[in-house]
Symmetry: C2
Subunit: 217 residues, 2 copies
DNA sequence: GTCTATACTTGGATAGAC
DNA sequence: GTCTATCCAAGTATAGAC
């Protein structure tokens, strides 16, 4: 089957070995960012967690920063996929808030947003990293924006509050809530906000499409 | 006048020298956190900026982390003082939003919230730092809470939205907006939010005290 | 009491082994 | 192509000079 793979032995081709090592390093980088933060994510710390020689980071990724970006990529991809599935199943404002709460709880447990926060904050200390991190956060903002746009279309708020601005605020709030929850070691105050949000969203559930029916001229 | 100070010369007493050095180090620590982030705030970097020997950090503060906490203290104190002055001059919701915008603009320019964000994110990498940072953020949350409480008292939202929860969200949003603005190098999306906030706040300006007049039984 | 010179540890990066 | 041993820079901390 494989072009040059081993049929059943323990040895592997170079590219297989490479892929395994890279994956181990990316996973270890994610875990290290979660537990030790950006400042604690050194080549040695990550490599030790991955169980490989520290020099491999530079061979496979060129620098620690590049590995951390790969870790951010891995998290982003996985998260966005999940978000998409959960949110697209939601119908109406209050179900959307429910989905958002589920996502937030899950992220908080898994520490995914911590990775994001650490990379944003850590970018200050590594020249050129900021724009790379910003590039990888754009999909999250776009996801938030299109979700909000869809929800706003059938709402009396349509036209009053532009979706891009709200999306920006939602992402910012999400990051901030994660920071505070993580710092205080207590997610309850953040989670309480979802209760209020759901109550308010419920007010809009009953009144779909209060805007003028003519959308396009 | 001074117990053992020099009358007019260039030399100074021990305690004066100490105070000068400490102040230089604290200022340099603040600047370093702003420009290089937590990960870049090493003893060497800070001391170089302060123009003093690197070992003095350990003599005067015991550790780099303690110096950084002193830097956070200095910023917190200065900021809270200013906030208090600006906010207490505001009357009514829309003036409050105006004050908040002024504060946010100023903080963004001066980089004060960056210091806060870097310390929160950096706390993950230094054992025991998290609770110390949390302790120093509590006054900010309390300030936000009492401000919001005062504004909410004469509002129809009184009783619907509890002030502590809103205060938590406001602080989180503030931190998140700073992070994103700083990362993207563009404060406009964040500032646009204040325009919307002001418009919404204006709706409440005209309707003071719509709750039942009986406050205490 | 204040500070400097020095010791030792950890981190990033690469030359060369396999 | 993949990895390890090694180099040098940067980091924290302190013993001892002033």
């Amino acid at each position: 089957m494989a072009k040059s793979g081993t049929a059943s032995g323990v040895s592997a081709t170079g590219s297989e070995r490479s892929a395994v090592t890279r994956r181990q390093l990316v996973n270890a980088a994610v875990e290290t960012l979660k537990s030790d933060g950006y400042a604690g994510a050194s080549a040695r710390t990550i490599a030790q967690r991955a169980g490989v020689n520290q020099g491999l980071i530079f061979y496979h990724f060129g620098s620690v920063a590049s590995l951390l970006l790969a870790a951010l990529d891995a998290v982003s991809e996985e998260r966005l996929e999940r978000y998409d599935a959960e949110v697209s199943a939601a119908i109406g404002p209050s179900q959307l808030v429910d989905a958002a709460e589920g996502i937030f709880r899950n992220d908080l447990d898994a520490g995914y947003i911590t990775v994001l926060v650490e990379m944003i904050a850590g970018a200050s200390s590594t020249p050129g990293l900021g724009s790379e991190v910003a590039k990888r956060i754009r999909p999250w903002r776009e996801f938030a924006q299109s979700t909000i746009e869809g929800s706003l279309r059938n709402s009396p708020l349509h036209g009053v509050l532009p979706a891009p601005d709200i999306a920006y605020a939602v992402v910012a709030l999400y990051l901030g809530l994660e920071m505070l929850s993580h710092l205080e070691g207590d997610p309850d105050p953040a989670l309480a906000l979802f209760v209020h949000a759901k109550r308010i969203a419920g007010l809009f559930d009953a009144m779909p499409s209060t805007t003028s029916p003519e959308e396009s001229p």
